[in-house]
Amino acid sequence: MFWNLPYIAVVLLTIIGIATILLKKNLIKMFLGVSILTSAVNLFLIVLGYRDSGIAPIYTYAPSELMVLPTPQALCLTSIVIGVATSALMLSFAVVIYRYYGTVNVDEIRELKE
């Protein structure tokens, strides 16, 4: 199992993220679970494009000419920026919900309040 260790780490992070969303009752902790799930998907993208004994794909003072694949790194960059946008909007929603209902517990937000 040790030849696949980065993929095992991706699976563990995914399970932790989904478990946090399903089992917790606080709104802020659910948002942390979404952020952990985003990090797991980014790690999966990077791990997919690795070559054995390859260096970073940059030609400035490069020691050898066997390089890892550059396309998954570009996709991961876009995904990180979208994660930042998601986190900013989710946290501002949490502030407005707390100001309106008075609590951040998910079980008490269900009822319609006048």
Binding site: I58, Y59, T60, Y61, E65, I80, A88, V95, Y98
Partner: protein, 155 residues
């Protein structure tokens, strides 16, 4: 109730260093790891450092929301404008019309490892600057608006 003298002095000393490092990461995006998005996040950290050290009322004279809005909109317009100029010159959208020519950033690079030269890259350094300025303005606006929307008596 302010932060102590040591915290404010260290924030004053560190602010120019962080801004210069962020601008270095943005400008050398086509030679070393980095580029527009990474450098923009580094420079936005400098604004967050100053806001944490001082309180919000003291910052309003130094960092204004209007300038950051202009900065963010200008960055996105410059990014789209550079891509549209290539359409006006006869080639396709997003074409690199400055690479391997003799104009602003156009020097040819032979194949193989070499110490990098700043004069290369074509359209890429202009796009790096545009995206870096946009990310700097955007993240600073998010921090400033979230801080100003929190009242004093228990949110």
């Amino acid at each position: 109730m302010r932060m102590s003298k040591i915290v404010r002095f260290c924030a004053d000393m560190l602010y120019p260093a962080v801004v210069i490092f962020g601008l270095y990461v943005i400008m050398h995006g086509h030679l070393t790891p980095g580029g527009g998005f990474q450098g923009g996040a580094v420079v936005a950290t400098a604004a967050a450092l100053v806001i944490v050290a001082y309180s919000y009322e003291e910052i309003q004279g130094m960092l204004s929301k209007f300038l950051f809005q202009v900065q963010e909109s200008g960055g996105l317009l410059m990014f789209g404008g550079v891509a549209l100029i290539a359409l006006g010159l006869g080639t396709t959208y997003f074409f690199n019309f400055l690479a391997n020519s003799g104009l602003l950033f156009g020097m040819s690079v032979p194949f193989g490892p070499n110490p990098g030269d700043l004069n290369t890259g074509g359209v890429l350094p202009l796009m790096n600057i545009a995206v870096g300025v946009e990310v700097w303005g955007g993240l600073a606006i998010v921090i400033l608006y979230m801080l100003s929307g929190i009242t004093k008596e228990g949110v």
